[in-house]
Amino acid sequence: MKYTLVVLGAPFTSNAGRSALNFAEALARSEHEIFRVFFYQDGIHQTSAIHSTPQGEDALTQAWQTFCQSNKIDAVTCIAAAARRGIVNDAERARHNLEHSNLAGEYDLSGLGQLVEAMAVSDRTVTFGV
């Protein structure tokens, strides 16, 4: 089956990201397919490149990056949700005249159309958080 995962919660304040990643890793080991992972609402914080996790705690954002890279996952961060919450890539940094960018390189910044398409194409869409 084709799956899309929608991550709605931020790291540390919610368990949405860890639950989603566990599910994604199980999918990657199975006969199923991940069509897309979409980071939305507070879930966009999972895709920040500047998290620093204290020793002994779950290094979740790094784990997501490793997972997306090694499994060539189509991973999209919602551009509107991210801009509002302070996550931009270099193009958006330039467009909004900001000093820094902080989106991790594994993620595409794109619009809600990517979520609408993913829901239309996937057999199952699973939300994590909220």
Binding site: A81, L112, G113, L115, V116, M119, A120, T125, T127
Partner: protein, 125 residues
């Protein structure tokens, strides 16, 4: 919505107005889905029904008026939105208290069960 209409996306709004940004994001997702010709339904439940109040004046706290944003829905082909009848009663909301564009249809338990049964996807705010 007829008994058998397939719903591509059901958006459930559960939060009271202006406590966070969830109303704006729910409205954005509804309009984005409608612009891709997806059949989308908005359902307001629990404290979410308070988003439907008339006479909202959120400008003083720097928020966009939810009632005004909802008013544009018919231009995007969304003629009606749904509200949980039990939640409306809990907060003492009756027709004169709530917005009339788009049309608000209240759903009892049977109506709620029906809308969930026909939704292929659900996103909750």
């Amino acid at each position: 919505m007829s008994e058998s209409t397939a719903i591509d996306l059901l958006i459930i709004c559960t939060k009271p107005p202006y406590t966070d940004g969830s109303s704006s994001e729910a409205i954005e997702l509804a309009l984005a889905s409608a612009s891709f010709d997806r059949n989308v339904e908005l359902l307001f439940v629990e404290q979410g029904v308070l988003q439907l109040l008339k006479e909202q004046k959120p400008e003083a706290i720097g928020r966009k008026n939810i009632a005004k944003q909802l008013k544009a829905f018919p231009m995007f082909g969304i003629e009606s939105i749904k509200a949980c009848q039990h939640s409306l009663e809990t907060f003492g909301l009756e027709t004169p208290n709530i917005i009339d564009t788009p049309t608000v249809k209240s759903l009892d338990e049977h109506g709620l069960a029906n809308i969930f049964a026909h939704a292929s996807n659900v996103i909750r705010f």
